[in-house]
Symmetry: C2
Subunit: 289 residues, 2 copies
């Protein structure tokens, strides 16, 4: 998905929010915001919004001399989600349709996205869980995904955020472990999950986990490692979590991709053809496209 004009105020809002959270020095604040304004003024609008967000957050880490400013936030949400895990696991097991319940919980976890809102707390997570368990899923491709999983040998599960990774575990537990490879970012960006989050939340004990070589949100092939791109090509099913994976992969052809996300912005809602707030499980399969 290209960068729409409506994304530009939002990229600046993200910058200002992150700046308020981490940058205390006023001189550095001013330099940072002027840098981002100039970068966006010169950006190729055919690039995706996550590409630009990656660039912005790279700059934030540079000016802070901090490789991982969201580290504490990520640890906090991993722990919060781990504390919920047992109850959610029980809820999946006891439900009439464990696969559907696990899908809904995995999508609910996608609310833990500090790129979109910097004020997510336990209450938003609880409320989103309740909502996702009850609300109709937009483009509901749950049965289609279940079928695709049965058919597939190599499933690449593109993760999104720390905390959310625990909710993903519940869905991955519904899939034969040897089929699945879970993907994290290679380097920190916002609160996206990296390998240490996969270790901390037990994902590495459950399935094979690799990183995509990149420090940008979503899946920007230009920034990904050759090893990841090879895995992507060899996979016969992609499960992609979150807005940034949708924004960066929605135009990929000749690949069976299922997008699981909580829609948090009107631009993506318009692009998908649903409401802001929608709980989405959309299939972009080569057979059906």
């Amino acid at each position: 998905m290209k960068t729409y004009y409506d994304c530009i105020p939002c990229l600046l809002r993200q910058t200002v929010e992150a700046m308020h959270m981490f940058v205390k020095d006023e001189g550095i604040q001013e330099k940072l915001i002027r840098f981002v304004l100039r970068e966006i003024a010169d950006m190729d609008l055919n690039e995706t919004p996550p590409y630009m967000a990656g660039l912005i957050h790279r700059r934030i880490r540079e000016v802070l001399h901090d490789t991982d400013p969201y580290k504490e936030i990520k640890e906090h949400f991993n722990q919060l989600a781990l504390n919920m895990y047992e109850n959610l696991h029980k809820q999946v097991e006891e439900s009439a349709d464990p696969f559907d319940t696990a899908v809904r919980i995995a999508i609910a976890g996608n609310i833990i996205d500090f790129g979109v809102r910097a004020d997510i707390g336990p209450r938003e997570v609880e409320e989103t869980l309740l909502e996702c368990l009850q609300r109709p899923i937009a483009f509901n491709a749950s049965a289609e995904l279940n079928h695709a999983i049965l058919q597939a040998d190599r499933i690449l599960f593109l993760g999104d955020n720390a905390g959310e990774i625990v909710f993903d575990r519940l869905l991955i537990e519904q899939i034969p472990a040897q089929k699945v490879c879970y993907v994290v970012k290679a380097m920190p960006v916002i609160n996206d999950a990296i390998m240490e989050d996969a270790v901390a939340t037990g994902m590495t004990e459950l399935v094979r986990v690799i990183d995509n070589g990149s420090d940008a949100p979503g899946t920007n092939f230009n920034l990904c490692s050759p090893q990841f791109i090879e895995e992507f090509h060899q996979a016969d099913l992609i499960i992609a979590k979150g807005q940034a994976n949708y924004e960066t992969l929605n135009e990929v052809k000749n690949k069976d991709i299922f997008f699981l996300l909580k829609v948090k912005c009107p631009v993506i809602a318009r692009d998908l053809g649903c409401d802001t707030g929608a709980v989405v499980l959309k299939s972009c399969c080569r057979k059906t496209v």
Copy 2:
């Protein structure tokens, strides 16, 4: 009030909203947004947000080759407000405290602000009226204003938007006409009232009306005419409507100014020390400061 970092995404949102409303050519859209990004990247943040909004809208008018893109919107809201005038006039006359009621109606009119939101309609105006008539006024300086009006010989009433000007009439009718001079913008900017709005809504028949020489929202002395500045200095009471007048005049000393506004943004709410949405009548009097 200086331009806070939080104002920057908002200035860009305003640009994008105005662009969607008026600029159809994609090439011009792109040039406009890149121009605004570069202007903000280089702007002196000690300038006020309305100064920057003035610059942005000047550029929008230039690229459109249209001196007044909001003309139809202004005419529409003048008419909408004129249609409400008789009932509101009756409501003031019949109320237990006509001055207080007129103050509340004048503040309610301030919702008609296309700088803040581009989707204002009759429903928002009706709802805001009801709210302003019932809700407590923040920093309620209504009695103080009433007293200051009695004492004053020369009152300068700084108007804000078209449509809103009709609501201002109801307050001005509570003041001896010979004391009041109503001020509009000299040239169009957003939906700010200009002389033709004062004529269309009967304000020119009620009191003396002048323009401030400027094409920017609020009251930027650097852009105002010497004649207006002289009037400002000679007035012994200033009644200033709307956010932009607050943003541009809140640091003026040695002048009795009463700010009447509906707070529509969190930055101004923080600066004032009230909630977003508050109905404000704040006195900044030299005697009390």
